[in-house]
Amino acid sequence: MNEISNKWIGKNTVRPDGAEKVTGRAQYSSDTTMPGMIWGHVLRSPHPHAKIISINTKKAEALEGVKSVITSKDIVDFPLDKPVMLGIQDMRWMCRNIMARDKVLFHGHPLAAVAATTEAIAEKACNLIEVEYEILPWAIDIEDAIKDDAPILHDHIHFDGKPSNIAGTLEHKKGDIEEGFEKADVIIERDFKTEAVHQGYLETHSCLVSVAADGRATIWSSSQGQFMVRAMTSFLTGIPQSNIRAIPAEIGGGFGGKTIVYLEPLATVMSQKTGRPVKIVMNREDTMRASGPTSGSKSKIKIGATKDGKIVAAQGIYYLQAGAFPGSPIRGAAGCSLAPYDIPNAHTFGYDVVSNRSKVAAYRAPGAPIGAYGVECVLDEIAESLKICPLELRKINAAKEGTKAVHGPVFPKMGYIETLDAAINHPHYKAPLGKHQGRGVASGFWFNAGGESSAQLNITEDGNVVVTTGHPDVGGSRASIANITAELLGINHDRVSVLIGDTATIGYSNLTGGSRVLFASALVVTESAQIVINQLKQRAAKIWGIDEDAIDWENGEARPAGDNAGKFAPLTLAEIADKATATGGPIGAGYQVNTEGAEGGFATHICDVEVDMDLGIVRVKRYTSIQDVGKAIHPDYVEGQLQGGCAQGIGWALSEEYIYNKDGHLDNTGFLDYRMPVCSDLPMLDTVIIEVPNPKHPQGVRGVGEVPLVPPLAAISNAVYQAIGKRSYSLPMSPPKVLKIIEGS
């Protein structure tokens, strides 16, 4: 691809979903209604940890307007002794997360649901359900969950030979760290703590499900994967996948949080029972309380370096909150944290810790921001003690083509050093700082991903193009696919229409996550386009009566390949389409494959903060993110991804946190007290796009959306240190905490 003219790739074309979104016409899942529709409501646990002795639904069922009441009895049970995996999700946990069995494990845990003629009746009926609980002691924080006498959430989970809340571990090793530390001239070891943070998508979870009399279900919902919705609903209701059609709505934000289901199976079962379409919309409180944030963590980082700045050994021990069921992103923390560096001796270890919180879900580069936070802060201290510029220190140790990463793979050509050079040479890095201002830097890595993808590319009768793929568009995949298709076919971008298919209209496509979508769908779209171009050449060959090998496809036209082929005026796409019926019928092709060749992405961020020394308030004054994106197919969207990640990182570092009260209840379930930054909290978020194409992808795509959330936590912490002269080892750096650090108490 890189050798062709690139008329559309790299251009900021008009986004296909833009007009509908700004005029309010785009269909989100809660916009969907149906005749005869009824409303669902979910009864949630008022306790963080309790045995369910009994549930009596009689009074609720008797209430006028109530059509169905369900409990865990109505959801398929997956016994505890055998894992049943769907991607990274285990149906044993999933069935218990959407409807508690035997025990409630967090405040807000669903344990029954009602469908009724109005939302208000459904809610009232929920309050009529009588539940007898045996309240159990609970543990919210990691420290409390791993204490010897901690209340155990799952009796069958063992660690060190006894029941434990440590549900799993993960380890990466390279070289010999003992030996490595012996060679070090400086060793720094620190403990870090971060709090659970929510993705903060504005659109809460919602769905509408209609199960027809023949048992076939149609699901409209907001998710990052219609095929994930279909598969999980199938597992949890027992309806075969072929009888479920999942239709993806436009998505009002997900950031990883919509990669599992909460409501769809409940609505499906209630629709099945009543024969009526059932709609459920979660409110903000329940979304914050009972959907998955990402983990809070504690970690210990130890890094040793020689006088000349060479890192000789590094160790990271991570404890991550999983919430009520196993599955915290320890892989991201332990796997990504040291990836930017070529370190001879390294060891990372992750503990997956369950406690009485809602089950965590993915959040942009799951685990990686936590992993990078401690490592990048300790590197800042090493640079300081060796009197080396922190960016130079990173350059001395930077991973490059051929480096064997601590988490295993050997890196191909990639652009980490390019981000460091760009940072060193950026005017931001040299700009003078004012009073009480400080500047910090940090780097970050994310794996990126490939996986299953399907595409269908059809030529319309009037010679235009419709491309369908199977991944919900959360960050500009439709605009980018349109650019790529126009480029490949040599036609104007506005002749390409890109749609997201539902589970019945396009082949299986893995969910939108891991920064995989454009990587994977560009591959299958490219393959489909090649097939279609061959078809177009065949049709031209037929019209001209020459061999198809004697035809070139150029600039949207079939042309004779040189004078020997014969003298014919070129045939445009429209002219070939016009004759399609006579030359063999419809023109179009699809392609589906498990895509391979995804390669990681690296970024380096520079951040300036100013601290109000009397109030402890930290404000970000200037921010520059520099990232190797492989190839920016649609630069505006790439920039938007970078800025979005930085904005979320600023929130995570300074103001966002899950706060539990003394009763084990989440105390800040709204955006007033769950403090995501607002526009005025952010400076212009500057971006520098570096393009070192992924050698394993036709357009050089790497994946963009997750790396930007990895460096900010440390970049901001390091900047705060420069501003106030003291270090903070825990997030968020809220004003009371920062003031305490300033005052040294």
Binding site: V678, P735, L739
Partner: protein, 289 residues
């Protein structure tokens, strides 16, 4: 499912009568930016909602005599902002009011609603107290005037009895060489709730303070008037020693709670810092800097 009735009252008498009759189950509605949120989340379940925005007196701004303003209880932030004379005389009250919510909220939110909602963290309240403003209240037995510092009884509680409504806010005639300031501490720059709010209103003559009122919000169950502050400030040039003393007084007066929004320790410290900053800004404003 009890249905909520809606009444758009045209006169004060009609509103007061309907409220009295409902015997505690009615709520007045101004901009609704507190009330509707509370109804939606189930915190309040009124059987009758009485909209007061159609009552002319509640929705108008009057200048009784030169520099003497009365602002209707339901006048929105956007509307008050358009009155340039008010803005010049009471920049602190206006800046406090304008801090409430976003542009959209400003089109609806009122001073009366902020006051009657009874939150100890309501942003306009310390500014109104510092201004020496009075609440004009209408009830079944006629009208009365209450200083704002006596309006609150506790979180969510005011002195309004069944049938009583707030009609307007009466500001004292503005003296020359006076100005006011409101500062609040919030973790975010906007769309946040005050961890501490501080209103200051002072007059100067030849650099000497001739009148001063200081009020704090969010540091006690009700917004506070720091009465002794004026004794310390009046007659001085408001030098840093004086400000240190007043800041200490403010910190002493704090009786906050530890909660998710701030610790006792932090809130107390912030009160002192904001006091000093507010006074310095007020001096600058008087001097026209």
């Amino acid at each position: 499912m009890s249905e909520t009735q809606y009444l758009a009252a045209k006169t004060i008498e009609e509103a007061v009568k309907a409220h009295s009759k409902a015997n505690g189950s009615a709520r007045f509605l101004a901009g609704g930016t507190d009330l509707l949120v509370q109804i939606k989340s189930g915190i309040k379940k009124p059987e009758l909602v009485i909209d007061v925005k159609k009552i002319v007196e509640l929705n108008s701004i009057k200048e009784l005599s030169d520099n003497e303003f009365v602002v209707g209880a339901s006048v929105s932030g956007a509307n008050l902002n358009r009155n340039h004379k008010f803005a010049k005389l009471w920049p602190g009250v206006l800046e406090a009011f304008r801090l409430i919510g976003s542009e959209q909220i400003q089109g609806r939110a009122s001073l009366g609603g902020n006051l009657c909602n009874g939150s100890p963290a309501g942003d306009s309240v310390p500014a109104l107290i510092a201004a020496g403003c009075k609440a004009i209240i209408a009830g079944p037995d006629g009208r009365k005037e209450i200083p704002i510092e006596n309006f609150h009884k506790g979180p969510g509680k005011t002195i309004l009895e069944n049938g009583e409504m707030l009609v307007s806010l009466k500001f004292p005639k503005r003296e020359i060489n006076s100005s006011d300031v409101y500062l609040r501490m919030t973790p975010r720059t906007e769309m946040d709730i005050a961890v501490v709010g501080c209103g200051v209103n002072i007059s100067l003559e030849n650099n000497i303070c001739t009148a001063a009122r200081v009020s704090l919000g969010a540091v006690a169950p009700t917004p506070l008037l720091i009465e002794e502050a004026s004794e310390i400030m009046v007659g001085t040039d408001l030098n840093s020693d004086v400000l240190d003393k007043v800041a200490a007084l403010c910190m002493q007066a704090c009786n906050p709670i530890n909660d998710k929004r701030g610790t006792i320790d932090y809130r107390t410290k912030v009160a002192g810092v904001l006091l000093k900053r507010s006074v310095l800004i007020a001096i600058d404003r008087i001097k026209g800097n």
